[in-house]
Symmetry: C2
Subunit: 391 residues, 2 copies
């Protein structure tokens, strides 16, 4: 559409244009109800249909097994850092295991970048016992230590294993089944998929829970999706201690029992997510995975063609296909790169303040043409600013 930019933001991020057009069309009067979804009671029949369809569509797209609940919550990844820990330690399974052990179970964390580190710190803040099973800090989070080096705890001493599958700041992505392959099946794996959810198939049945903020591939900021195995929601009722540390607003079971509406949900944001889920279903999850690889390939090919100029920082074995980060030889060249990109209507390319450089985020809704335009710009920029070999 005329006047739109290529928006490479790491999130919130570009949404499918047909979704935005539908939102715009229905903004004053949704489906003949005479009101906007922004104004609609969450207890109305129409809204019940909207949230029900959103849940059912996501379930189909990701092929979520029937023994998993899908919850729509609030608070993003930050909320789930705490919720994952507090809910697991309220579950019957973890409490029984802890009773057998006779002392606190540990929480295993794979620290692969800023977000998994924040997740670990939240558990420490709340008094949990953390075992860092792997830490990419030595490489500046430019790679992930191989599974053979992970120091996972013994299964009967471990409450869960937690990792973040895609690190938006460091541009590192864990291969699809690397973690569930390495962990004893008796230990629930909790995965933060905030930034790569819905971009490729996932074998949900191998996870204890998947948590994700919506604002990358799924919709607007303000919705958190939780997919959790139902047995982990089971509790010993009648024991006040079970939920003494767990505020209701973070309680997965509370949301599960009330169809994600124990109180007013973020109605409009869930509606937009539902439209994105439908769009994703129309594309197909395998096609979305094919496209994400194709988009990323275009940019990594330019990086690999001139590695001394486009300085990719991440081990190719765990390069993210969502957030691609690189530096140029000097900060001045980086500033010129960003300025020239903006002139071409390519925006939100500045790297995270902790790393500098360039970050190009290529989520589901970024058309291949956007990645092509960016790769062409990289070539052009190299031709004009790269080493003048022929001079």
């Amino acid at each position: 559409m005329e006047g739109r930019v290529w928006n490479f933001s790491a999130g919130p991020s570009t949404l499918p244009l047909p979704v935005l057009e539908e939102v715009q069309r229905d903004l004053l009067n949704y489906g003949g109800t005479g009101m906007s979804v922004l104004e609609m009671s969450h207890r109305s029949k129409t809204y019940g249909g909207i949230i029900g369809d959103a849940e059912a569509t996501l379930r189909r797209v990701l092929d979520v097994p029937s023994n998993y609940s899908i919850l729509f919550m609030q608070g993003g990844g930050t909320g789930e850092f705490a919720a994952a820990y507090l809910n697991l330690f309220a579950s019957r399974a973890v409490r029984e295991k802890q009773r057998r052990l006779g002392r606190p179970l540990a929480c295993d964390y794979l620290v692969t970048g800023s977000w998994s580190k924040l997740g670990k710190q939240e558990v420490e803040r709340l008094g949990g016992r953390v075992n860092v099973a792997a830490d990419g800090a030595a490489s500046g989070y430019a790679g992930i230590p191989p599974a053979a080096e992970w120091t996972l705890g013994a299964p009967d001493e471990t409450a869960f294993v937690y990792y973040c599958e895609n690190e938006t700041i460091h541009g590192v992505e864990v291969p699809p089944s690397a973690v569930v392959d390495a962990v004893d099946p008796s230990v629930p794996v909790i995965c933060d998929m905030s930034s790569n959810m819905l971009s490729r198939p996932v074998d949900v049945g191998r996870f204890g829970a998947i948590v994700a903020g919506a604002q990358k591939n799924m919709g607007p900021a303000g919705v958190t999706v939780v997919i959790v195995r139902k047995d982990l929601l089971e509790r010993d009722e009648g024991d006040a201690d079970v939920t003494r540390a767990l505020p209701s607003v973070l309680d997965w079971s509370y949301y599960d029992r009330a169809g994600s509406m124990p109180h007013t949900p973020p109605t409009f944001s869930i509606y937009v997510c539902g439209l994105v889920f439908r769009w994703a279903e129309q594309q197909g999850i395998r096609e979305l995975a094919r496209r994400r690889a194709a988009r990323a390939r275009l940019v990594y090919d330019e990086i690999d063609a001139h590695p001394a100029f486009f300085r990719g920082r991440v081990d190719p074995a765990c390069r993210s296909e969502m957030n691609l980060v690189f530096n140029l030889p000097t900060p001045e060249l980086e500033a010129t790169f960003l300025a020239e990109a903006a002139e071409r209507r390519m925006v939100q390319l500045k790297g995270h303040r902790s790393l500098g450089g360039i970050r190009v985020s290529l989520y589901n809704a970024m058309p291949l043409e956007g990645a092509e335009a960016f790769a062409a710009f990289m070539r052009d920029f190299y031709a004009r600013h790269g080493p003048q070999e022929k001079d």
Copy 2:
């Protein structure tokens, strides 16, 4: 606008039409940025302006003193039930008072309906010591016990006093300064204003904190506004116990230090709130208060004209001007009333399932014409279905 209904929902609820029209106009391309606010990075300069303006406008409209912070959070009233308790008990002021007392301070709750009751129960769940200083249960929450009967704790034994100023289910509203007038100024008063915030002036400086979900008078669901006195954010640093029970996502201080953006905020919902705040400023808070009284008067006049037919359940001294509840002589008549209202494009009038009957919610964005239409319908309904005195 053609095709729109009169939407009397208790929340989410009707929004000002000019706000919706502006949202619709800018949905694909906000202010020439080439992207929707739905897609905009919260770290962009444009979004910094949007959230900064929202905060500044709300500060002007409610005349919020400079020693108060305004925070935009998530999780609604339910989140703040826990947050209020956990933040106060993390504050230096409360911890010092508790140290002096040598045992846990109590939390005083005024229970005036379902929402304050849920707030109280959340603190009990989290292990807090609650003192119910007043309880409207004996009257079925049709009235509020007079302040002279409240059993507030001694100031040096009380962490805070909590109340909900408007009960959407029971239709009870606490007069503006009734609570702050009754409480010792050394004890912070925490008020849940989810359903009457921004509908009348409030003397913010007399409160410890005001918390409110946005989805009544302020905007879409998914944003929680917290206005808190800055000294209550002060903590004893270096003491891990201070925040051991307080997840980051509920930590007022964490949001305060980061301008409400320690992580991705609900960007679009805050944007819409900002437009509503600007609309409210254009009307003026005193004018909004005048209008809310005028709207409610129209309906209560019909109730008072035929009290045996329109059976208002609430003590006139604490009738809500936001949510007006009444019953008709029979469930059959109530069903007919709702059906006939719907034919006149007046919707969302069914009372809460716990009370039945009729509930008409008249928030800021409901034009006087909407209340007039409803009152006219009540008269007409009475003429046709009321007692046939002349027969």
